[in-house]
């Protein structure tokens, strides 16, 4: 067993606990939360198709600083890294080498032979700030947002946490007026004869 295996397991442990806490925050009843955790553990037990465990760990760490977990779910809960893995094996395949090369250069720039994921959050943010203008950063940001807000079938936006964060009701596909505050006000004005 190589070191990749160890870090993959460590990565997956983290993943499971985050999903669990997201379920708790979302007020999911106990049994459902357990089922959810079991489910994500099963997902997690599957190896990444394209990314190595190290790559996944580092990219997930970057995504988590781009769209952090706060009192609401972020890139981690959305499973952005699973989106990235799936996309790189599919429609993003031509960009895989760019992503790999970019990540390697990104890691090389970190002082003291550290990896990004091993830094504390302040240090991570400081380093990420210095990389903001690089094409690699722009690409990972793009991937993060796609994994955060794309359809769940692409592997991210798990449980539609991205859409819920924006105030959307993911199950709803049709609406009726009033749509928002200002058109509601407009209609009131009309019925008052203003």
């Amino acid at each position: 067993m190589g070191s990749n295996e160890v870090s993959r397991r460590l990565f997956l442990q983290g993943s499971g606990s985050f999903v669990g806490s997201a379920a708790l925050r979302a007020g999911i009843p106990g049994l459902a939360a357990l089922a959810q955790i079991a489910c994500s553990a099963r997902d997690s037990a599957a190896a990444f198709d394209i990314l190595t465990a190290n790559e996944a760990q580092e990219l997930a760490a970057i995504a988590s600083r781009i769209f952090p977990t706060t009192d609401t779910p972020g890139a981690h809960e959305a499973g952005v890294i699973w989106f990235v893995d799936k996309a790189m094996g599919d429609f993003m395949a031509p960009q895989l080498e760019f992503l790999r090369g970019g990540l390697s250069g990104f890691q090389d720039g970190i002082a003291g032979n550290n990896t990004f994921s091993s830094l504390d959050e302040d240090k991570q943010d400081e380093y990420l700030g210095s990389q903001e203008q690089t094409p690699f950063f722009g690409f990972v940001r793009f991937l993060t947002l796609m994994g955060m807000f794309g359809m769940s079938s692409y592997g991210g936006n798990r449980d539609q946490v991205g859409w819920k964060l924006l105030g959307l009701n993911p199950g709803q596909h049709a609406y009726q007026p009033p749509f928002g505050y200002y058109d509601a006000e407009h209609r009131k004005g009309e019925s008052n004869g203003d």
Binding site: L128, R141, L166, A174, F179, G180
Partner: protein, 556 residues
């Protein structure tokens, strides 16, 4: 809706008409000619999707170009601003941005259906020549087109109410305007405050049932997406099923046309294409109609060069591919205190046409219309990627807060403006790049005229004034700069009475090839004010009437 045609024509027997393209013009021509009893084959390069195939997949539609031909389309076009540059494919989107699917771009458009005004057709006479441009009058006027605008309103389905500056209409709109959204309400209030005249936006989307079709359910996935309930008045949802029902029209999807052949008498007699399996096929025809859009139509004519037509088919004037016009756009964004929820329903519900006419007092040519719409805040990825306020950082906690808080509170005000016809803006065949069929790539060369940039800048400033009047919490705009692609593809086979300065006559018949007709955005002489599809459709209804009459009189 079935995608199977009721008739299959043999390739080696000449049908009355082959129509290239099934979009706004091609769909209407197919229905008009087949209902009049002519045999019609429509060759469409995209697949035959129906309402059931459309979805809310932002990654697939907006980023992977599911409806616009994906990577293949990007590889089949190149762009450059100036003739001195070497053109190259764009990594982000095809420069000529159009849908490849039965129904063409009417499937994915936002449905803004402004009629032209009287002045649009005769602006050159009114304003005089503009040096360095090919600014000209149309050979037809508003009165000639008005009955066909009315047919679009009723037969295709347009929701709206008359505005204060609209040209004469012979019949009211068939269905009322779409319900106002918060973006529309905000624009209306601000415009009234500034003494302007906001009006409900006419759109090719049904507010009420009409012609047996269901109305809009306000799902919000409108711009760039196909409509899942058929409420968007695409040719797919309207005339194409009617054309098929005649039993005289065969729609052949996945058929990419690469050449129109002519015979010894100089008449078009066969259309060559790659079929769904990549095989080279030919369909014989008594007459050919090109409705492939303002980029692909001239490309096909140039590709159809032969010994008899060394500079391309129908190109004795040299005007094929020239005078490309996109329309200009300015974009400003604003954030408000309360939720707009502009991700719901259609894009535009209110417009302002006070600055429609070109005003010599401004010191430059141009005019346009203002609209309010979610634009970026209709779909989450696009919003987070490209539209958060400049006050927010690009990543991290504050970025996340800005995305989460503002997605439902943000809107855009757009200026939709004129483009001048210029010889330097054109479609040619790329000498270097080839598409996956091995054809030369479509090469687009485009640099906006200084007046086009000036009028877009004028509208950019007006949009910010409107956001101020609306008490936006924050507003900002994008700099006006030279465009590097467009979805409105106009002017490249212009109509005119003079065969030396136009490609088709006033009835869309090629000056050079008697049985070749061209009807789509390429027929335009001027650009209008940013919403061309209503006029493309009206031209198609009118063209069909004249083409059918000529065919019946044996004059083709």
């Amino acid at each position: 809706m079935a995608t199977e045609s009721l008739v299959t024509y043999p390739h080696d027997e000449a049908v009355d008409f082959v129509i290239v393209g099934s979009g706004s013009a091609g769909g209407i021509l197919a229905r008009e000619l087949s209902t009049k009893g002519f045999s019609v084959v429509v060759l469409e390069q995209g697949p035959f999707r129906t309402a059931a195939d459309f979805n809310h997949d932002e990654i697939g539609v907006l980023f992977n170009g599911e409806l616009t031909g994906g990577e293949r389309a990007m590889a089949s076009q190149t762009f450059r601003h100036d003739e001195s540059d070497e053109a190259a494919p764009s990594p982000f989107r095809p420069p000529a941005d159009y849908a490849q699917t039965v129904g063409g771009s009417s499937v994915h458009f936002s449905g803004n259906y402004w009629r032209f005004r009287e002045s649009d057709f005769k602006e050159r006479s009114k304003l005089g020549a503009i040096s360095g441009t090919t600014f000209a009058d149309w050979p037809i006027d508003y009165d000639e087109l008005e009955p066909y605008y009315t047919r679009v309103d009723w037969e295709i389905g347009v929701s709206g109410a008359p505005g204060p500056f609209d040209s004469r209409r012979s019949k009211p709109y068939p269905v009322p305007p779409m319900p106002i959204k918060s973006s529309g309400a905000i624009l209306e209030r601000a415009a009234l405050k500034l003494g302007l005249h906001p009006q409900p936006a006419p759109v090719a989307i049904l507010s009420k049932p009409h012609n047996g079709r269901a109305p809009c359910i306000h799902c919000g996935y409108c711009m760039s997406f196909g409509c899942e309930v058929g409420a968007k008045s695409s040719t797919l949802a309207t005339v194409i099923p009617q054309a098929i029902a005649t039993g005289k029209c065969e729609i052949r999807p996945l058929s990419t046309v690469y050449k129109v052949n002519t015979n010894a008498e100089g008449k078009a007699d066969e259309v060559l294409y790659f079929d769904a399996d990549g095989q080279q096929r030919g369909q014989r025809a008594k007459a050919v109609i090109l409705s492939a859009n303002g980029a692909e139509t001239p490309r096909l004519l140039l590709e159809s060069a032969s010994e008899r037509h060394p500079d391309g088919l129908a190109n004795s004037s040299g005007y094929v591919g020239r005078n490309l016009m996109f329309n200009g756009h300015s974009i400003a964004n604003g954030i408000f205190e309360e939720q707009l929820n502009d991700y719901k329903s259609i894009q535009v519900t209110r417009i302002v046409h006070d600055y429609y006419e070109s005003d010599p007092a401004r010191g430059f040519y141009g005019g346009g219309g203002i609209d309010a719409r979610p634009l970026f805040s209709a779909t989450p990825i696009l919003y987070a990627l490209a539209a958060t306020p400049p006050s927010a950082p690009a990543w991290g906690r504050k970025f996340k807060e800005a995305v989460a808080h503002n997605y439902t509170r943000q809107m855009s005000i757009l200026g939709n403006t004129t483009s001048l016809a210029l010889d330097r803006n054109n479609i040619t065949l790329d000498p270097k790049f080839k598409d996956h069929w091995g054809r030369p790539a479509l090469r687009m060369t485009y640099r906006d005229h200084d007046d086009d940039l000036a009028i877009a800048e004028f509208f950019r400033k007006k949009s910010l004034e409107l956001f101020d009047a609306a008490d936006a919490k924050e507003s900002w705009s994008y700099p006006v700069e030279a465009q590097s692609g467009g979805a409105h593809l106009l002017g490249t086979c212009r109509m005119g009475d003079d065969a030396t300065t136009s490609v088709v006559d006033r009835y869309h018949r090629s000056h050079d090839v008697r049985n070749l007709f061209i009807c789509d955005g390429s027929s335009f002489v001027t650009s209008g004010r940013g919403q061309p599809t209503m006029t493309i459709m009206a031209l198609a209804f009118r063209a069909a009437e004249h083409i059918a009459a000529a065919a019946k009189a044996n004059e083709i």
